[in-house]
């Protein structure tokens, strides 16, 4: 191997051999193994070339080394390229093999939802809670005094006919209104009072639009200088937050024995923005709650000085708001635990 020309020829033959071989690989592992063999310092066709160095005359050593390194670098880059190409091909195949129908159903374990009434209740509580209202929950079974008498509805009062009451005994009944909670609060606590009182209420009414059990939320503010204007101001904030910006209220006269003046509160239709649609029956307004200035007789009955303090109260139909908000068309659906209904509302 004293002749560099001989070496050059040998190397170019080797090059041709490798190039021919490279085209035959289809597997990156095989290619890697081949390259390893080729570069093996003892047995490899390229790797072992350096072993020959000792046999090379000194004056030729530099050229020899250069040529060997050249082919080594050439082979390495050739194999790098080859392996890269092969790996890309293999990945592509793997990806192809793992193709899926992305529209197949998910594997999520679905969570359940709170009841629509709970959802609305939470929203209302959040609104009033942030304004400093406590939440008072009375009992479903009340006595006659708290449900009627203390609310300025004495025994012979025609207003008792407005509410068909379920009686459990001569004295005890199922509360017909969460207003009963007002009295318990005013007896227990002196002004300033700001509470809302959500709960189930009952009336002997069972038809397409009435359920014998439904949910109300009473609101009560008693402090110095509370006016009808405050009632509307407070309710304007409430309806904007629950039904969306721009929703406003309209007051019109009504009658409840425990408030004077009493008002029905209509909200501007949040669906048609007051233009008139099916939801608001073309009027632009939807009746949602009853309210008023707390009757001084009620305050006085709870030992609150009506010369110093005044109050406002409102009763929100939580079911009604849930039905309006979510477009639920039948109140009975709220009490049937029909999963087809419950899994539709997640507000």
């Amino acid at each position: 191997m004293a002749d560099l020309n001989e070496l050059t020829e040998k190397l170019s033959l080797l090059k041709q051999e490798i190039e021919a071989k490279i085209d035959t690989f289809s597997d990156s592992k095989e290619a890697f193994e081949f390259r390893k063999g080729l570069m093996d310092s003892k047995t490899g066709q390229i790797g072992s070339l350096m072993k020959e160095m000792g046999k090379i005359p000194n004056e030729l050593k530099a050229d020899y080394g250069k040529k060997v390194n050249e082919i080594k670098a050439w082979a390495l880059s050739k194999f790098d390229e080859l392996e890269k190409t092969l790996k890309e091909k293999e990945m592509k195949k793997r990806y192809e093999a793992e193709a899926i129908d992305v529209t197949l159903p998910s594997k999520m374990r679905p969570v359940g939802y709170l009841h629509p009434i709970t959802q609305v209740k939470n929203q209302i509580v959040q609104i009033f809670g942030s304004m400093g209202f406590d939440i008072f929950e009375g009992t479903e079974i009340e006595n006659d005094y708290y449900n009627f008498t203390a609310l300025n509805i004495p025994k012979d009062h025609p207003a008792r006919d407005m509410q068909d009451t379920f009686y459990l005994s001569p004295d005890f009944l199922l509360r017909t209104q969460t207003s009963a909670g007002q009295i318990h609060v005013m007896e227990a606590k002196k002004p300033p009072i700001k509470i809302i009182s959500p709960g189930k209420v009952f009336r002997s009414d069972d038809d397409a639009t009435h359920s014998p059990m439904f949910t109300q939320m009473e609101g009560l503010v008693v402090d110095k200088g509370i006016t009808l204007g405050d009632l509307q101001g407070l309710l304007n904030v409430f309806v904007e937050k629950i039904f969306g910006d721009g929703t406003t209220t309209r007051l019109r006269p009504s009658y409840f024995p425990f408030t004077e003046p009493s008002v029905e509160v209509d909200v501007s239709c949040f669906q048609c923005k007051g233009k008139g649609c099916k939801l608001c029956k073309g009027t632009g307004w939807i009746e949602v709650l009853g309210a008023g200035v707390v009757n001084k007789k009620v305050l006085e009955g709870c030992d609150i000085d009506s010369d110093v303090y005044s109050g406002i109260a409102f009763g929100i139909g939580v079911d009604r708001i849930a039905m309006l908000k979510y477009g639920i068309n039948n109140i009975k659906l709220l009490f049937e635990s029909d999963l087809r209904v419950l899994d539709q509302i997640n507000d």
Partner: protein
């Protein structure tokens, strides 16, 4: 309340449109629930003059040429027997809408649209109509009751709309009257409000009449002044019973009252017009020529005008003659003193009976009338006095009798003069939160006939005797604002209120946390009625003496299925699961957080225990006892407590798949698979599991303070151990023993159970993963080995447990 606008116009000049009138009423507190014209279904019916009328041979029909003025001339076939040339009839043009009648030409079957047609080969363009086809009865329009064509007046112009001619254009409002305004349950009462809101003068009803000076033997007394504060009666003679005049019959018909005969019609007319129920007795049937108002004797009998017999009690008020009851006070007259065609002397009654008594009697006897409905809301003596005068005036106006001088006014001395009331103007404004100008206050109160005077801050008004609802400055504020307009209110945001904190309290927050934890387990929150059915207790197969059967009963339930306050939430949950399965949903999780009601004694004398309870139901082939247990543990985890389970049998649960649930040794609930018998009975296709937890018992764990435990400085050691034991050793007993033996063990997880021949008969193996947490120094493997040896020794000693080879 039905209000014909033309009747209102007797008392107020209404010069606004019906829409504006509706809005005005609405703004001052009277909602018009419905407004309609009498002929709301009728369209395109005009006056038709029959110019030519030829019989169609071999039929009862005629072919007519009808002149419909500007609409043209039409050939119309007609089958009525009273069609003749030269007369005018209603002509329904092609495209018109009229009522369709049955073959009898009397029964209305719906509304039809007229189209061009052909009868016996003759073209017919329209239809000549009967009164019935226009929705008219004899009482609404004279001649309309005839079973044939309605003959129109000679002066009607062909082509003109028939509605104004026949009164079909009359507007009727159905007005809802709130319970605080019984004074408005009449045409005149509402007219007062209309006059006030339109700022028009109110015309008074004609109350004039002349007494003849004739007297007659009659005595009137009242033994129950507590139930009858005023009883006015007047004797009328030379009575001539006949039909009322057309205008009266029409008005009564429009307000839904049938016309009977002049005397009865007058009482009904006054009721509708003034809101005072009246009654007329046939004088000749009043034995002893006496009237006495008293409480009925127990079991006293009366037969009312509608021929129903009632057995009365001391709580019912009756009007008696010298011997017997002749009327059920305020509800209905007796058959024995009814006005007949032969009646020629009557005694009129106008009275104020007590609201509560009439309402109760009407309810308990199940007998009601227009009168009792009005009395039940309230009648004022002011009106009682007025009504009698009005009735006597009508007697004269109708010329159907003579007003004698025999009259009685038995009363308790209540004044019917206005009451003076003084309130502070600033307090009135203080209620409203705005300053209503004094002039406006005076104006609106004057319109309401309150004769207001303001001097400084003092407002003095004279409250009419029919406005008992006006007592305080708040009532005055309401009168002012409803007439001044609620749109004047300026919304404010409680500027004078003190700042308070708010929001959910601990219990409310914790309950929401529990609910959210359950939702995270895939459970949906349901809500069921607080009452359930006695059959629900049977569904659970509860024995007769089960405490769950000790339920509070509703005295007046809607039906039996809603007649008991629930003592458990389980049956409704079972029904909910069954109903979902019926709907084709064969897997699901539902929970409810609600009260059950535990009475201390029955009937209720004190508030019962309303216990917050959680009920969880899961169903489906993919669910089992342990998946339900998992849901329960979500509750425990939300409260940072631990539940224990002990095998227990319940009558409604699978005897081998049910457990009681404990917390710190206290029984707090139950869980298990719903018995197959119940599954079958409720048509459930897949197994169902139910748990009930007494949340009230857990409230003591609410708000448990959370403290951070620093992460261990040294690594935990985990070891897997497989024990062999007798089959009846429970997992819980192994876990408890390990926990009690070694306090380095902080977690124990069962990961495998095996039973097989190589273990031997009645043996099983359980494999646990034990977590050993170091305390103050690193856990050396040899030390852990020694801990395990100790555990094994204890387990072996207690249960004969060995390590599996």
């Amino acid at each position: 309340m039905l209000v014909p606008i033309s009747w209102l116009k007797d008392y107020v000049d209404i010069d606004v449109s019906v829409e504006e009138l509706e809005n005005k009423l609405f703004s001052c507190g009277f909602e018009v629930e419905e407004k309609y014209q009498v002929g709301k279904d009728i369209e395109n019916v005009v006056v038709g003059l029959v110019k030519k009328c030829d019989p169609i041979p071999d039929t009862h029909l005629h072919v007519c040429v009808v002149d419909a003025g500007k609409h043209g001339e039409f050939q119309v076939c007609c089958g009525a027997d009273n069609v003749e040339a030269g007369k005018k009839y209603p002509l329904a043009l092609v495209g018109a809408r009229v009522y369709q009648t049955a073959k009898d030409h009397v029964t209305v079957e719906g509304v039809m649209t007229i189209s061009a047609g052909k009868l016996r080969g003759y073209d017919s363009f329209g239809m000549l109509c009967s009164g019935t086809e226009l929705g008219l009865s004899e009482n609404l329009y004279k001649g309309a009751g005839y079973n044939g064509l309605l003959v129109l007046p000679d002066d009607a112009t062909p082509g003109e709309d028939v509605k104004p001619i026949t009164g079909l254009d009359e507007w009727i409002f159905d007005v809802s009257i709130t319970a605080n305004r019984p004074d408005c349950q009449s045409i005149f009462g509402l007219a007062r409000e209309v006059a006030a809101v339109l700022q028009k003068p109110l015309k008074q009803p004609d109350l004039s009449y002349t007494e003849t000076g004739v007297t007659k033997e009659l005595s009137v007394s009242c033994e129950a002044p507590d139930l009858c504060e005023r009883y006015i009666s007047h004797y009328v003679y030379d009575v001539n019973i006949k039909e009322s005049p057309d205008w009266m019959k029409r008005r009564l018909t429009l307000v839904g009252c049938s016309a009977i005969s002049n005397i009865v019609d007058i009482t009904n007319y006054v009721l509708k017009e003034l809101g005072q129920p009246m009654h007329a007795f046939d004088y000749n049937y009043l034995e002893g020529h006496a009237i006495n108002v008293r409480r009925a004797a127990d079991e006293e009998k009366i037969v009312t005008l509608d021929e129903k017999e009632f057995s009365l009690t001391h709580d019912n008020l009756v009007i008696c003659d010298g011997k017997k009851p002749v009327a059920l006070a305020g509800i209905m007259g007796g058959l024995n003193s009814e006005i007949l065609d032969t009646t020629n002397e009557v005694v009129f009654e106008a009275a104020k009976f007590m609201t509560d008594n009439i309402r109760k009697s009407s309810r308990s006897l199940g007998q009601s009338s227009d009168s009792s409905a009005v009395f039940s809301k309230g009648v004022y003596e002011y009106t009682t006095v007025m009504a009698m005068k009005r009735a006597l005036h009508l007697i004269e106006e109708l010329g159907c009798g003579k007003v004698s001088s025999t009259k009685f006014d038995v009363n308790t001395g209540n004044s019917i003069e206005p009451r003076e009331l003084t309130v502070s103007v600033s307090k009135v404004n203080g209620v409203l939160g705005i300053k209503v100008p004094d002039a406006d206050i005076v104006r609106v109160l004057k319109n309401l006939d309150f004769s207001p005077v303001i001097a400084g801050d003092v407002l003095t008004i004279k409250v009419p005797a029919y406005r008992l609802d006006i007592e305080t400055y708040q009532d005055v504020a309401e009168e002012v604002i409803r007439m001044y307009g609620y749109d004047h209110i300026v919304p404010t945001f409680i500027p004078t209120a003190q700042v308070t904190s708010g929001g959910y309290n601990l219990r409310q927050r914790t309950e929401l946390k529990i609910k959210n934890a359950l939702c995270a387990q895939g459970a949906f929150e349901g809500m069921h009625y607080s009452f359930f059915s006695p059959s629900d207790l049977d569904l659970l197969r509860l024995p007769e003496d089960s405490p769950l059967r000790h339920a509070i009963k509703l005295i007046n339930p809607i039906n039996r299925d809603l007649s008991l306050m629930r003592t458990t939430l389980v049956p409704q949950m079972i029904h909910a699961m069954a109903k979902n399965q019926k709907n084709g949903i064969l897997s699901g999780r539902i929970f409810e957080l609600g009260n059950k009601f535990i009475a201390k004694d029955l009937p209720l004398k004190e508030y019962p225990d309303e216990r917050e309870t959680i009920c969880i139901g899961v169903f489906g082939e993919d669910e089992d006892f342990f998946s339900l247990k998992g849901v329960l543990e979500a509750v425990a985890s939300a409260l940072d407590i631990k539940f224990d389970y002990e095998k227990e049998e319940y009558v409604f649960l699978h005897p081998y798949r049910s457990a009681k649930v404990l917390c710190n040794g206290e029984e707090i609930g139950l869980m298990g698979q719903v018995k197959y018998e119940i599954q079958d009975e409720t048509d459930m296709r897949v197994p169902a599991y139910v748990a009930e937890i007494d949340l009230k018992a857990l409230t003591k764990y609410y708000g448990k303070e959370r403290r951070f435990t620093p992460l261990p400085a040294f690594n935990e050691e985990k070891r897997d151990l497989c024990f062999v034991m007798d089959k009846d050793v429970t997992c819980a007993s192994v876990e408890k023993t390990i926990e009690a033996t070694c306090d380095y063990v902080t977690d124990i997880n069962l990961f495998d159970i095996y039973e097989g021949a190589q273990l031997g008969e009645n043996k099983k193996s359980m494999a646990f993963n034990l977590v050993f947490t170091p305390k103050n120094e690193e856990l050396k493997p040899e030390f852990v080995d020694s801990l395990i040896k100790n555990i094994l020794d204890t387990l072996n000693e207690k249960y004969g447990i060995t390590l599996r080879a």
